[in-house]
């Protein structure tokens, strides 16, 4: 009897949702945890003292510069374009609304190749200039793209859509009620933006920037190609050159600790502030029509990132692909595209599903634990790809060994490894890395639904699952689409985990591009890169139009 009561109590505390979400978070966080666990393995002090006395300070400085530049860049571009396209009316707004997302489809390393090829000393631009003016090396100054500044620019232009998408949703979901309150207190359009819209969009902007920064931190392809040495270079240095995998993992853990610290500080600085809509007015703010010159400026402001982040690189890529593309283009590419597409789709759907679960569980939980776990789950995104890939390998193979030992015990036949090298393990690796993207997006938007919405539904006899399904999911529709889009595109571009976790004879567009690029056959790699962009464009096109349409309904009503 007492036992039963105890059980009941436990069930009470650990509802299926909480328990389920804890289980999922631990599962997804396994790779990060396994990376972290290296902190407790005795270090190889040689590697540490070598790195810290020679290169690490410089690497850290570079990383901070990179982060500062990218953070500033993505938030400025993302917020500005989001604000312009939601709150103002100018020529081309409808087009930019969805087109501004496009740079997401271009992998940063591809951008880096393309721009280098275009801008470097021997590239067409400089060669052309030299020919035109008869200059020689050293006669003139030309910005070098392969520098820290160049890397910042690359990341900025491919990653700003994170902020753009999240901030846009935030601006749209921010009812006009609060803006009106601001204006009645004497705020002009600029004041409204800086003192109402922006602070209220803070969680979204922070989430978007955090994603961009985590991706920057985890990047190796672009920075190594540019010869910009970052903390991640240090991690790879320890692992590949110095052969010290433990030190590499410890460095990764340090990186994670840094990310956690920043996120925690940011969260703490919010205090008890909330960001939900306190007004019952749910109208989308009516866009302000800009004057002609201002409208022109707005058009240019939106065009520039789109041009540099997508139109120009895409044009160069396509040209390259047409002129000297992959000879193997053809049936094989259909296969590659299908592999990429299916993987991306499955992962995106799963990620969104899990993100809703985890976000919702944290929302309902009265304890901190789920929230903390969600932050840890989110860290997978900040870990350099190869490190997290190995982080994934460890738990997956362990489990695999257990399974095969058990099966052998039962049947006497060794089934070998059933998970490792399977699609499931690959998807698991992706989730470990990209769930963060979905989770950030979903959590940000969940925070904008007042808790009395939950209460109202529950009081009408609707359980928490049904409430999720009937209240949160419909309200979050836009954010869920955004989240799935982000994960989709990220998986399309993902490389390190795909390389090492994939099954035999399984290629994706990204691995194809990588094979050629690492053989310094950039021109040929362009075909695969173009295909990545093209395949990524399809859902992006559909989804971002969906998101835009979802809001337009209300906008148009108010515009009449």
């Amino acid at each position: 009897m007492r036992f039963l009561e105890g059980l009941e109590k436990l069930r009470e505390r650990w509802s299926s949702l909480t328990a389920g979400s804890l289980l999922i978070s631990v599962l997804i966080a396994m790779p990060v945890i396994s990376v972290f666990s290296n902190v407790f393995v005795g270090g190889t002090s040689g590697t540490w003292s070598h790195l810290s006395s020679t290169v690490l300070p410089e690497f850290i400085r570079n990383t901070l510069i990179l982060c500062a530049g990218v953070g500033l860049g993505v938030s400025t571009i993302g917020v500005a374009t989001a604000w312009l396209t939601t709150m103002t009316e100018f020529p081309g707004r409808r087009f930019f609304q969805w087109a501004l997302v496009l740079p997401l489809a271009v992998p940063a390393y591809v951008m880096a190749y393309v721009y280098t090829d275009f801008l470097q000393f021997v590239g067409p631009l400089q060669s052309g200039l030299r020919e035109l003016f008869g200059w020689k090396a050293g006669d003139y100054w030309f910005p070098d793209v392969r520098t820290a500044g160049g890397a910042v620019a690359m990341f900025m232009f491919v990653l700003y859509p994170y902020v753009y998408l999240l901030a846009r949703t935030a601006f749209l979901e921010r009812a006009s009620g609060m803006l009106e309150a601001g204006r009645s207190l004497g705020l002009g359009p600029w004041g409204s933006f800086f003192r109402v819209s922006l602070p209220l969009a803070r969680p979204a902007v922070v989430a978007g920037s955090a994603l961009a920064l985590m991706e920057t931190l985890a990047d190796f392809g672009t920075v190594s190609y540019f010869g910009v040495q970052t903390f991640t270079t240090g991690i790879y240095r320890a692992w590949f050159s110095l052969g010290d995998r433990v030190a590499a993992a410890q460095l990764s853990a340090m990186l994670l600790a840094f990310v956690v610290l920043v996120l925690v500080l940011e969260h703490a600085s919010r205090g008890r502030a909330r960001f939900n809509n306190t007004s019952r007015q749910q109208m989308v703010p009516t866009p302000v029509r800009l004057s002609r010159p201002m409208g022109l400026i707005a058009t240019l402001a939106c065009l520039l990132p789109l041009l540099l982040g997508f139109l120009l690189p895409a044009f160069l890529l396509v040209r390259m692909a047409l002129v000297e593309g992959d000879a193997q283009f053809g049936a094989r590419f259909v296969q590659l595209a299908r592999n990429s597409f299916v993987l991306a789709l499955v992962t995106a759907l799963l990620a969104v599903l899990l993100a809703i679960l985890l976000g919702y569980a944290a929302r309902l939980a009265r304890t901190r634990l789920p929230r903390v776990l969600n932050r840890i789950v989110g860290l997978g995104y900040a870990v350099p790809g190869s490190v997290i890939a190995v982080g994934v390998l460890i738990p997956v193979t362990r489990l695999d060994h257990v399974i095969s030992a058990w099966w052998q015990g039962v049947t006497g036949v060794n089934p070998g490894l059933v998970l490792t090298g399977g699609i499931a393990a690959l998807v698991y690796a992706y989730l470990g890395r990209f769930l963060s993207v979905a989770l950030h997006t979903v959590e940000t938007s969940l925070g904008k639904i007042t808790s009395s919405m939950d209460d109202a539904s529950r009081s009408l006899g609707v359980g928490k699952w049904a409430t999720l399904q009937r209240v949160h999911v419909p309200i979050l529709r836009g954010s869920l689409l955004t989240a799935s889009l982000l994960v989709f595109v990220d998986v399309m571009k993902e490389l390190p985990a795909t390389l090492v976790m994939r099954p035999f004879n399984f290629d994706t567009l990204a691995t194809q591009a990588h094979t050629l690029a690492s053989d310094e056959r950039l021109a040929e790699a362009s075909t695969a890169a173009v295909t990545i962009v093209a395949v990524g464009l399809l859902p992006m096109f559909i989804i971002s139009r969906q998101i835009a349409r979802g809001n337009r309904r209300t906008v148009e009503e108010t515009e009449v």
Partner: protein
């Protein structure tokens, strides 16, 4: 020159006409009040004045300058208008103090702090400035919204049901306090409320609205005792209509007896030429019928509503018609009991017998008609 003037404004939400040819004026320093059934357009009128909705016809003038016209729209932030929103619209990311200090950017830190503290005191929330809106009760949030609107000392204050979630005592204290502030600073204000006592107590002039139109713009006393039409008579205060026969200029006969009107009986449009033998509807207020144990006229108690100081009895007359009577609450009679009543009518208000349409047909009593 009036401080605020609305002249024939129209507003439609997506084809649905919500405000129709609405006009009124308010002098500097006076308090107007909009009363009307839920959904009649009160909030919408305030939104037009504040500049959140562009008008489709007519114009709004502030200090003589046009701020809204179909082809002109001064943005809200340039109008120096403070507003308490019906749904408060507090900033969730700012503490209570920061919410109140939001419009005080022009002040230095110390001045701002002082002003915020002062307003916190006025609304009875001293010491709670550090809280966030979601940590406050409904009524507390409402008071924060009020304080926030008052803080920048706007020259025109729009109050959309600012006391609806407050208890009587606080509501009374606050409404007087706000009235004092408004009067002391010569601010103009428009109050939307559903509490008629509050409207009567606070407002200099009241506009009764229905379906987007002002039905009567007048003093509280006139609204109650000289309603311009049947809608106003019905809406303001309580009362019933009994059939009556006009005997002459000053006398109307109803089943309870003959009413003697001090002023000539107006008999409403439609019986313009008739000054006797017309059948009219006579408005009888609860205070027109006085309980008198000694009276021979008796009526049966069919319903009673205990209201603290008094009891509102619904009484059935012989004919089956019902009337209301307000009786001090120690006269506690049981349902079914027959009690003595007496007519005690000063102002006889009559309307043309007929459908409710009569209400709409009657012309408005123009703005600024004082008692």
């Amino acid at each position: 020159m009036s401080h605020l003037e609305l002249a024939g404004i129209d507003l439609a939400y997506g084809g649905h006409q919500v405000v129709r040819k609405l006009s009124f004026r308010l002098e500097q320093g006076s308090i107007g009040c909009l009363l009307g059934p839920s959904g009649c357009g009160k909030t919408t009128v305030l939104r037009c004045i504040a500049g959140f909705e562009p008008v489709t016809a007519g114009q709004i003038r502030l200090d003589g300058k046009v701020v809204s016209r179909s082809d002109l729209h001064v943005p809200p932030e340039s109008r120096r208008i403070g507003m308490v929103f019906q749904d408060y619209a507090l900033f969730p990311h700012l503490s209570v103090s920061e919410n109140i200090g939001f419009g005080l950017r022009h002040l230095d830190t110390q001045q701002r702090r002082d002003r915020v503290a002062e307003l916190l005191r006025v609304v009875g929330l001293a010491g709670q400035g550090h809280k966030y809106p979601h940590e406050m009760s409904g009524g507390q949030q409402q008071r924060v919204a009020l304080a926030r609107a008052l803080a920048p000392r706007p020259s025109l204050l729009l109050l959309d049901e600012p006391f609806s979630n407050l208890d009587v005592e606080l509501r009374e204290r606050l409404s007087f306090e706000v009235r004092d502030i408004i009067k002391a600073t010569n601010t103009t204000a428009i109050l939307v409320t559903h509490d008629q006592h509050e409207a009567f107590a606070v407002a200099d002039e009241i506009g009764i609205m229905n379906e987007g139109r002002i039905q009567q713009w007048d003093t509280p006393y006139n609204l109650y005792h000289r309603p311009a039409n049947r809608f106003v008579a019905d809406f303001v205060g309580q009362g019933v209509f009994l059939q009556g026969l006009v005997l002459n200029d000053h006398q109307v006969k109803v089943e309870l007896g003959t009413l003697n009107s001090a002023i000539p009986v107006e008999c409403g449009i439609g019986c313009g030429n008739c000054d006797r033998d017309c059948t009219v509807s006579v408005l009888l207020r609860p205070d027109d019928i006085v309980h008198d144990d000694t009276s021979a006229l008796q009526a049966e108690v069919v319903h009673k509503a205990f209201r603290g100081a008094d009891i509102l009895y619904t009484l059935k007359l012989e004919s089956g018609s019902k009337v209301l009577s307000l009786v001090p609450s120690h006269h506690n009679h049981a349902l079914g009991e027959r009690i003595g009543i007496r007519l005690d009518v000063d102002h006889v208000v009559t309307f043309h017998e007929g459908s409710d349409d009569a209400v709409q047909e009657r012309p408005l009593i123009g703005p600024l008609r004082t008692q």
